[in-house]
Point group: C2
Chain length 194, copies 2
């Protein structure tokens, strides 16, 4: 099937989101850009929140696919570093998407919750692979993954708001913080296998 009204609505909503933030996503403008009337969206989505939820879930799935591809092409700890940098870079490049995907939902759509869980499982798997390869300290992989995600998320969010540091240089600083944490998580070099 060609584009289809539903996909055209999602595309229009994403374009408006990136261009002008969440406030710019108007059902009327979404409809107009998709070539339909101002309330045709209601034939495809229950309401505005459902439309935004579908946009968020689609983007999160796309992002997770990129992270999976990184995992197939690099050594574990390199894939982990690339994944975290990619996560932060995406957040800085499209802050409104980032807030939509990672934000609070009154009624989180199943589609979005499942995409989020799949993305998190991918991260934990990468951490485990790096630990098994002896490239990362051996603490509980779930906790390590959560810590890494918290830093990437927090650094990107703070930087995106312009609050990282008075003299900060944006993304460079975000990557620096990710590297700092990965450095602290390096296994002790003195520890030798028996």
């Amino acid at each position: 099937v060609p584009p289809g009204t539903r996909d055209a609505l999602l595309d229009a909503a994403l374009a408006l989101l990136d261009a002008g933030g969440a406030a710019a996503v108007t059902l009327r403008e979404v409809g107009t850009r998709a070539g339909v009337s101002h309330n045709a969206p209601y034939k495809h989505f229950a309401n505005k929140e459902a439309l935004l939820g579908a946009v968020a879930a689609r983007e999160l799935r796309r992002q997770t696919d990129v992270l999976k591809a990184l995992g197939r092409r690099s050594a574990p700890v390199v894939a982990l570093r690339k994944a975290l940098r990619h996560y932060a870079a995406a957040a800085l490049e499209h802050p409104a998407r980032f807030k939509l995907i990672s934000g609070r939902w009154e009624n989180e759509p199943d589609e979005l919750r499942e995409a989020g869980q799949a993305s998190y499982r991918q991260l934990v798997a990468t951490v485990q692979a790096a630990q098994s390869a002896g490239e990362l300290s051996g603490a509980n992989p779930d906790r390590v993954a959560a810590l890494l995600l918290a830093v990437a998320h927090g650094a990107a969010d703070i930087s995106s708001a312009g609050h990282l540091s008075p003299t900060g240089k944006g993304q460079a600083d975000v990557n620096g913080l990710i590297d700092d944490l990965l450095g602290y998580l390096k296994p002790a070099v003195a520890k030798r296998r028996k």
Copy 2:
């Protein structure tokens, strides 16, 4: 001077923010709750954004005062841990305030930017104190402070959205991540002074 319309407007906006999120803060409802007409706010603030900016700056100043008091009553590294926990707990308790204070601003009010810088300086000073006391590893205090803030911010934001972990227990997990990072930042015990 007794309350004053301006303070009454700020109080009403904060109450609406906490009760129903940013979407519930309506200039009309703010005016009504403050006992004035629906557009009296325009006599005290340029527009809705300016009103929200004043609310954010006031709350950020209050929060920073709490962190300063913690610093005066505890040993440095204890104060640091308490400050980070307090930051995260406040974020979880009043998520809409947290997003307002730490979010993006089209035109960030001077008042808010200055309050944010003061808060960050307070955190860096606490890190430095902990390092001077030999309770925290000696890396660049600005980078360490940024890393700690990123974790507290990121963990609170992810947890607040319900995305920390499928089996996560909210605030307990956030504090756990803060403790994990502080653990990694402990100075090497084997290192003795000459």
